[in-house]
Symmetry: C2
Subunit: 342 residues, 2 copies
Amino acid sequence: MAVTIRDVAKAAGVSPSTVSRALSTPDIVDAATRERVLRVADHLGYQPNRAARGLITGRTGNIGLILPDLANPFFPSVVKGIQSQAHESDYQVFVADTDEDPYAELGLVRSLAKQVDGIILCSPRMKSSELREAAGLTPVVLVNRKAGSIPSVSVDNADGMRQVVEHLAGLGHRQIGFIAGPRSSWSTKERLRGLVTACDASNVELVELGNFAPTFEGGAEAAEGVLISRVTAVVAYNDLVALGLLNTMRQRGVDVPGDLSVVGIDNIQMSRVVHPALTTVSIPKERAGRRSVDLLIQLLTDPSGPTKFIHELPTELLVRQTTGPAAHQKQHPSARRQSAHQ
Amino acid sequence: MAVTIRDVAKAAGVSPSTVSRALSTPDIVDAATRERVLRVADHLGYQPNRAARGLITGRTGNIGLILPDLANPFFPSVVKGIQSQAHESDYQVFVADTDEDPYAELGLVRSLAKQVDGIILCSPRMKSSELREAAGLTPVVLVNRKAGSIPSVSVDNADGMRQVVEHLAGLGHRQIGFIAGPRSSWSTKERLRGLVTACDASNVELVELGNFAPTFEGGAEAAEGVLISRVTAVVAYNDLVALGLLNTMRQRGVDVPGDLSVVGIDNIQMSRVVHPALTTVSIPKERAGRRSVDLLIQLLTDPSGPTKFIHELPTELLVRQTTGPAAHQKQHPSARRQSAHQ
DNA sequence: GTGAAAGCGCTAACAA
DNA sequence: TTGTTAGCGCTTTCAC
């Protein structure tokens, strides 16, 4: 069996309590004793059993992280931020992927709640009522979602959409399409709302092209609707969707950005790799992750402190390859489509 | 405080032990009693405290997973496989990303060892001696690495490389370059070995182009060396590297596959998305993840069972658009390079 | 400043 | 089949 606190105590000639104190509250123990204990502990390779400690302190030193889909490159970036920040404060991170199943989320919260000090819900798809239930089970920090007074880290979607629309309108686009993500996604609602506002302000028509899976395949499926619409530019729910759209457009012989301008959201690495590179709204992913951990730890250590609970990070439009509709505006979309069939 | 086993016992009119048994070993408890206990437990929303349970059983119900870099899409796929399989057996997964720092690995193993029943080391970069030390600390399963008798799940790199070389040789290539990954990567050594053997057999010259970071940027950096070499085809350490190479080649005006054939390894999603789509050696990523969990759980539950400890999964060459005939072999690379500067 | 004792929530002997 | 007892490794009163 592993070396316990009693082994250390015996070897150092003190009581287990003193060892405990030397490790947890070093300042209240005599300097000489402390040094000796620490040296012995180190020499024996003593590692406190966190489960036993947790049993009495009620803190586990673990953080839970629940997210929809690790295969979407957006999430690994957030995870990396969360992890590095958590490890810095000596927390370990349980990661759970729901595979975009909204109903799996609450179940995971329940089974994780007892084993962690708090949970970070990244882009949760569950309903607000479930969110409240989750927050009642354990401290919760939301990423990419706002719900009442639950602590959260989100991004300024409205401003991001404003930047997109102003950019496209400046290029001369008058009809912009939006490929929405899952209905259960808070971001999709926020982005739609931002687009509506911005389009109104810029006197641009917004065409809702329906909800699609937030994946490469979702973008491919959305292509058909884009082609039969009369839009000259499209904003996709995220970069993955935009990439799927781009790929199908190329197969159909539609030139991007010549025939159609496409804008994504997230700035995943792939977005600048593909050709043509994708114009996208950048989101500070790692930073959001780190921030969410900061927030959670503050909550845990100083629940009554003067903390700001609702954080909103900036977004930034990265213009890569978009053009105005001048090149293709005389050509009717259906003509585009037929040409693709030739 | 949360509802404990004593609350359930009291409410059901039995002793805590009976509740414990009803939950852990249902068969040895009277059917009627069991039903009642289970109903009460459910009604009270009882969730066993796993830390307390672990304190006495010595099992935590947790698995640790350590990997080099979540930003490489290869790893999220493995993680997904690991997670879904682990959750099926009611294990939670700690995920830790080392950011490609070989020295962080053993430290993570040490700090995780006490909190988990076992650790899966995915593509570990640490030395064999450290690996042995890690395996002495807690049950360990290796993914993408073999080391002595430590249980492992790897892929048949040699066969994958054989498929690649035969394909390229069949297209007429006589000089093939290899962009190696980190020196500390077991896969890079295996792949090199496989290439050497296969090139010998096919009478093809293998040119080692040096070690590069296993990232998109690494591939970009490798481009220079590819250009000044006389190879007509390149095998990259992984798809990310191949993609970086592809991107830089396009910038330099080098036509792929016209001027140069490129082959990646991993079959990450991106590899079929980019244009031209990347020829790659497919690796069963999720399957490897699932298999590693199976193996670990077998180890934990039946350490002396008739288990096969060393698993090797098949690889498969997926021919896409980045490979073609060596039609350019008469043109000297330096000419290619100059043409790119025009 | 340090030790003795109690107990966190649970399971595993041992009795009954 | 069930209850009683003890104790996993640790922290935390409460004495001294």
